[in-house]
């Protein structure tokens, strides 16, 4: 390792200034819209409808979030129905009580999809990457080809299949459907990762008397932790974000996920933007936290296949 010679001062200052400017632009572009969403979720209806807008909440308040978390306790009766008047800001959409249950639905489906996706994909990816069997390429291409068809085209036939199975409006139907979306991509990631593991390790394991199951457990799984974490995160996020299938396959709060309930608010012109924005912030928090915590794994796991091309 040789030390790079120190460069003259002027180019270094210039480089620093350029990097700073571009970093600032980058932060503004990436974080600006989200910051504005968060800022307006902390304002009351009167405050977000100010012209020109308040960049920062004049009086940050968690009232919108409180409204979401207490919506279920509120009872609308003939006497108190006028309290929530849109003009005074206390207005809650009729579906507000659905937010919390849908949050749980999203979490449940996401966790199931993440776990099942990994179990299914790991075994298949191992077989395709490591074992030389007849129909190996055909299997791989068939799995990948299922993702070429646009989701919107699959919705109708899938709806009919799920209805015939008697699973409409159930979380199970969503889990199975999302597996169809996540499994092909996960298999693709894992295969590139598994193929990067030295073949000698596999041979050594086989010579030591391991079967395929043993080789997978003792060699491949411990060595591909980043890809496994990336796959878990990816599957959870895909499930958390999915919209089209949930829109068609669910009918009420028993199975509706967060994006469906939120989109219902967006279409409802009477809903206050401050309230919808608060719901949006709630929907952003889990995936963003997860992405940032597992950043290192996601980057190395999701991009494993890119270098080889």
């Amino acid at each position: 390792m040789q030390a790079t010679p120190r460069r003259p001062i002027a180019p270094r200052v210039l480089r620093g200034a350029l990097l700073f400017c571009f970093s600032a632009l980058f932060v503004l572009y990436v974080a600006g819209p989200v910051a504005w969403l968060v800022s307006s979720s902390l304002q009351s209806e009167a405050q977000i409808t100010a012209v020109p807008p308040n960049w920062l909440p004049p009086l940050a308040s968690l009232a919108n979030f409180e409204a979401i978390f207490t919506a279920a306790d509120r009872q609308v009766t003939y006497e108190n129905r006028r309290q929530g008047d849109a003009a005074t800001g206390g207005f809650l959409p009729s579906g507000a009580a659905n937010l919390l249950p849908s949050l749980w639905n999203s979490l449940t489906v996401g966790i199931w999809v993440a776990v099942l996706n990994l179990l299914l994909s790991v075994t298949a990816a191992y077989a395709i990457a490591v074992i030389d069997f007849r129909g190996r390429r055909a299997t791989l291409y068939t799995v990948l080809a299922t993702r070429v068809v646009p989701d919107i085209a699959l919705v109708v036939p899938l709806f009919l299949v799920i209805r015939n199975l008697g699973l409409i409006n159930s979380l199970g139907a969503l889990v199975v459907t999302y597996l169809a979306i996540t499994v092909p991509f996960t298999i693709f990631i894992l295969i590139s990762y598994f193929e990067g593991i030295p073949r000698d390790l596999y041979r050594a394991a086989r010579i030591d008397g391991c079967g395929h199951w043993g080789a997978l457990r003792h060699v491949y799984l411990p060595l591909s932790l980043p890809a496994l974490v990336a796959a878990l995160t990816f599957a959870f996020l895909t499930s958390w974000n999915e919209f089209v299938f949930a829109l068609v396959l669910t009918q009420n709060v028993q199975a509706q996920t967060l994006p469906i309930v939120i989109s219902g608010f967006i279409m409802d012109f009477t809903t206050s933007f401050s309230f919808v924005n608060a719901a949006g912030v709630i929907a952003i928090i889990p995936p963003v936290l997860m992405a940032v915590v597992f950043q290192r794994y996601i980057v190395s796991g999701l991009t494993a296949g890119a270098v080889k091309g």
């Binding site: 990097l19 298949a124 999701l302």
Partner: protein
């Protein structure tokens, strides 16, 4: 019998079959069957308002689609939207990758920030930008007015010339991060020796980018182009949330047309035919990008 099977298929093949079986079973039910079924639907005249009569019509649905003026409008809209989204996403991703590939304090923080749009659900993404574009209370009007770029507030999403671009902007915001990550990884794989050799030969920053970085980026760029095209061409969520095809038919893309045809007009046959046309186009496009651009780039 079992012994004969064992002889015909060795240990490897039996294990492989066992390991692959669960995935194949799941994909058969939730992917392969619906795909084939939807092809069957596309060959029949199925209208849900007339549930009992569903005659076989061969490829009539496809011909009907090609005769439909709305279809060609949707093709034009989808093309503009996809080209803009993919081109700008890729360009921005390369710029961001160049920035994050540098070593400077705060680099890791920026990379963490990069994952925020990627993790944002598309419904929230649509909501967020719809609120930014809001004609009376939105951020866009306020900022542009303050900068003196516009003289009075405008109804952004109501402008047919701008709608597609504004929706594309929301899509780009969400898609750019993954593309940038893929390009960063490709950049990191370029051996430092190449840069040193180029420096010794007296190449400046620009020349190093043109002659060293860009040829080495080819595999990463290919992946980004194919992936982004496949994703953008079928975007649906943003259209439902932001404009529902409007104003007029300004944002009437193929995905939206399929949705309207199937779930509003309840013409499942033609809807399925359109889906097949879209799927085939996506497939051919990806293949063509890999085939032709892959050699030239």
């Amino acid at each position: 019998m079992l012994a004969a099977l064992n002889r015909r298929f060795g240990y490897d093949e039996r294990s492989a079959a066992l390991l692959v079986f669960p995935v194949v079973a799941v994909l058969l039910v939730v992917a392969a069957f619906p795909i084939l079924y939807s092809f069957w639907v596309s060959l029949h005249d199925i209208v849900l308002t007339r549930p009992l009569r569903r005659p076989f019509v061969g490829f009539d649905n496809y011909l009907r689609v090609f005769d439909d003026e709305r279809f060609w409008v949707a093709v034009a809209r989808t093309t503009v939207y996809t080209v803009v989204t993919v081109a700008v996403t890729t360009l921005l991703a390369v710029l961001v990758a160049l920035l994050l590939n540098e070593n400077f304090p705060g680099n890791r923080l920026l990379q963490a920030l990069l994952l925020v749009p990627w993790a944002t659900p598309s419904v929230v993404n649509g909501l967020m930008w719809k609120w930014i574009y809001d004609p009376t209370y939105g951020l866009l009007n306020a900022v542009l007015l303050k900068l003196g770029l516009i003289e009075r507030y405008r109804v952004w999403l109501g402008d047919p010339d701008l709608t597609l671009l504004l929706i594309a902007n929301a899509a780009i915001w969400k898609q750019m991060p993954l593309a940038a990550l893929l390009i960063i990884v490709t950049m990191k794989a370029i051996p430092d020796d190449l840069y040193r050799a180029a420096k010794v030969d007296g190449a400046g920053v620009v020349q190093r980018f043109v002659h060293v970085t860009s040829p080495a980026l080819r595999p990463g760029l290919m992946l980004v182009l194919v992936y982004e095209t496949m994703i953008s061409i079928r975007h649906f969520d943003l259209f439902l949330i932001m404009t529902q095809g409007g104003p007029g038919d300004a944002s009437f893309t193929l995905s939206w047309l399929i949705y309207v045809e199937t779930f509003r007009s309840l013409r499942f046959g033609t809807g399925a035919a359109m889906s097949y046309i879209l799927a085939t186009t996506t497939f051919v496009l990806s293949w063509a990008v890999i085939r032709f651009l892959g050699k030239r780039l």
